[in-house]
Amino acid sequence: MTSKTKEQYYPGSILPSRTLNWLNLNDTNSYYDPKRDQAPYKDWVLGPEGKERNISQDLDPDLEELLMKGSHGISPQILEENRDKCNLQDYALMDEAHFNRFDLPLKEGQAQLIDRHQIRVKEGRRAVAMFDLHAEDGVAGYRNGTITIDLPEDALLHLVILDRLNDATTNNLSIVANLADGAVLYVSHVEKGGGKSNFNFGCDMPGFESLLDISTAFLGEGKGDLDLYYDVNQIAPYTDVKIVANGALLDESRKNFRGTIDFKEGSYGAVGDEASYTILMNDKVKDLAIPILLCHEDDVVGNHAASAGQLDEDMLFYVQTRGIPRKEAEGMIVEARMVPTLDRIPDPDLRESLQKQIHERIVQR
């Protein structure tokens, strides 16, 4: 799992509150390579066409500081690599109904993406940003991405992250967010395709009544290794956090849910929920979870849950009695787990195609 012999092991996403070392839950392999070269990345699309937007190649220094000087991000080395070898960067100041859709392919000729995005939504405005990373078959890709988000008062951002990897791709994604009074951040996140993926989500909530809702749907395939790391600091009163990871593991994949919700002193009235639900579809998969609740404030509501098991036989039987073959039924049930996240994707065609891909993958296993 972690090779400490030949290659040097660079730990990433270290838990803010660590635990027993032999559980191997304290950190993840960040796949950092000091010898990695800079590479060009030219072919990508910002859609949808015709949408007016305010986006520039010059990064905002405040958001830079939020990313580099804060306590979030996969690791200092990964953040430095992201800054020094960046081949795609932008700062978007989003207004009402703006929709920035980044289509980021990894293919022959551009297998390395080191992207640095900054998003700020104007006060009281609501916007959508989507980052669709997809790797073509056979391409050994590497992605090191950061997305820094600043939401001032009453701003709302719907962030959609699609990581559609292949078996040979490595993905490091660090998201850092800061929510002011009344700000709302919805994250819809889909992980599939195998490959090694480190998803690191760090958020500070100094905003009174700010809200964070993360819905992750994952499908572990091949020898995929997925690390889902969430670190949320609920600082102000009445903050509301909900983190749900729902999905299935096939083949020999592995997934690690490491969520931390920290109720800081003074966050009275706060609500924080985190849950990880996994369907295990093969005896070689490995599911790990450590949903941590840290609490320094007595008048809060904190819930955590983790559940893992096989497909419900009763449910399968019920569906089969309606004439649906078993594999189809299995596909339907796994898909049903992931639909709450998929339904949030703002593009209906993309949503349908993803649902179909997931369904086919289960039916043909």
Partner: protein, 514 residues
């Protein structure tokens, strides 16, 4: 009040569909929201949720101090010379001394853990590893020296012995001073004696099991334990013997600046059953006191073992105890654990389920008051098919105390058909305190049914009613339906002085998180 999720989720898909609102309308909407929120901020009338109120534990009797008189005491610190001294004082055979020296080497190379509370204050140079009180081991309570007997009398031990227990062991500082067993037990072949005697009288059994479940390599304080262990109990229950009254040991540390390193080894053979109760306390001093004991339990095929502890060490104690049980096919272990005392505790009773159908049930209460840091939890390690584990833990913190739950559930490759359920509740009684829940779960086999308080959907009310109509209490009925298994267990302790703890176990913690 927080934002309205339902409304947001309704318009979420339509944000990008263009905006019919003008800039002025958007500004107006924003001003409205901001004003409403500023108003809420200004006139914030937050009503704290209803919470169960729990009073501080009365230490009273536990804090009695006796004049410190001893027969023999080692110097503070730890080195080979001291270990040899201890061994010589106890007149131990060579193999025991060798084990001590091997463990000492491991200890000297070891380091404190990189997680959990800060253990840098635990300095062996401030601790005297071995203190022998002025008392020879007595079989008759009358023969125990007055002061010592007095202390235990006040704690209610011998009285309880007459009424409830099969046998009692009382350890004062580093030595067992009283060990008695009801005669009928002797006839059925049950062995309940102090550990030193066991080493002398049953060396074959002891050699086979001692130090094999908890090894010096496990962690630093296990290594320390094996270097300087003294006292403790040895229990051997032969095949098929079912004890219907509990055995009890009580450890009391009286000497300031001393360490308590008792070793308890319990072997329950196939088809046997026993309930073992352990109580620990020490009065408060201003010096450092360390408890690094070890409990090794072997549960045979289809055997049943219940291990109840009340740890009520004084508020200057560092309690770094290790408890581990190995459960064979069809065997069952029940842990009932109450942690109230000590300045700092790190205690994680572990059940290792190696036989098919083995099961483990853990009920724990931790109460941390002012100046206490209690990091406790439970471990369930499933290494065989169709094993079951259930963990029920309550952590309470008050007045600046820190009470953490650190749980571990491991489902190994060969543990197909296993089920595991964890329920952890944490109650903070004020904002000065702190309580963290850190449950670690690793699963290596697909055929498993694991829930960490995950109630998937609503529980069918009709099914709950059906079960309750058959006399099953509501909580148990719910557990049965959610996870498909649950054995109603009477989790009470038979002791009078354990009344408080029983109350806490049964208390439904309102206002808890987790």
């Amino acid at each position: 009040m927080p934002k309205d999720r339902k409304r947001i989720e309704q318009f979420l898909p339509y944000i990008a569909n263009g905006h019919p609102l003008t800039d002025e309308e958007i500004e107006f909407r924003r001003q409205e929201e901001k004003e409403a929120r500023d108003h809420r901020k200004k006139y914030d009338d937050f009503k704290p949720r209803k919470k169960s109120q729990i009073e501080d534990m009365e230490r009273g009797v536990y804090d009695l101090k006796n004049k410190f008189e001893y027969e023999y005491k080692t110097e503070t610190g730890l080195n080979e010379e001291i270990v040899r001294e201890i061994s010589a004082e106890k007149e131990e055979p060579d193999w025991v001394l060798q084990k001590r020296l091997d463990a000492l080497k491991v200890f000297q190379k070891s380091k404190n853990p990189t997680w959990g509370p800060d253990l840098s204050a635990v300095d062996m140079n401030k601790i005297s590893a071995y203190v022998r009180p002025k008392a020879q081991k007595a079989r008759d309570w009358k023969d125990v020296p007055d002061e010592i007997r007095d202390t235990f009398d006040k704690l209610g031990i011998p009285e309880a012995e007459l009424d409830y227990l099969s046998g009692v062991g009382a350890q004062y500082d580093s030595e067992i001073v009283y060990h008695k067993m009801k005669d009928y037990l002797l006839e059925s072949g049950v062995v309940y004696t102090d550990f030193e005697s066991a080493v002398r009288e049953y060396p074959d059994i002891v050699k086979k099991y001692f130090g094999k479940l908890i090894t010096p390599q496990l962690h630093r304080y296990a290594a320390l334990h094996y270097a300087v262990w003294s006292g403790g109990s040895f229990v051997y229950v032969p095949k098929g013997v079912k004890l219907d009254v509990p055995l009890q040991s009580y450890f009391r540390l009286n000497a300031p600046g001393a360490g308590q390193f008792e070793h308890t080894l319990i072997i329950v053979e196939d088809d046997a059953a026993v309930h073992f109760i352990e109580g620990c306390s020490a009065p408060k001093y201003n010096t450092l006191n360390l408890h690094a004991g070890a409990v090794e339990i072997y549960v045979g095929k289809n055997a049943k073992m219940r291990f109840s502890t009340i740890e009520n060490w004084s508020r200057n104690m560092y309690n770094l105890n290790t408890k581990r049980a190995r459960v064979e096919e069809g065997g069952k272990i029940e842990w009932i654990s109450g942690s109230f005392g000590s300045a700092l505790s790190m205690l994680y009773p572990a059940s290792i389920l190696v036989g098919e159908g083995a099961s483990s049930d853990f009920t724990g209460i931790t109460f941390a008051g002012h100046g206490q840091y209690l990091d406790t939890g439970a471990q369930a390690i499933h290494l065989a098919p169709n094993t079951k584990s259930n963990i029920d833990s309550k952590s309470i913190s008050k007045g600046g105390g820190v009470s953490n739950y650190r749980g571990t559930v491991v489902i190994g490759k060969n543990a197909a058909g296993s089920k595991s359920n964890t329920n952890c509740e944490s109650l903070m009684l004020d904002a000065d305190s702190r309580t963290d829940t850190i449950p670690g779960i690793t699963i290596d086999n697909e055929d498993v049914d694991l829930g960490h308080e995950a109630k998937i959907g609503k529980i069918d009310e009709d099914a709950v009613f059906y079960l309750m109509a058959r006399g099953i209490p509501e909580k148990e009925a719910e557990a049965m339906i959610v996870r498909g298994f649950a054995e109603p267990v009477a989790r009470e302790l038979p002791m009078e002085y354990a009344v408080e703890m029983n109350n806490l176990i049964n208390l439904e913690l309102e206002g808890a998180i987790g």
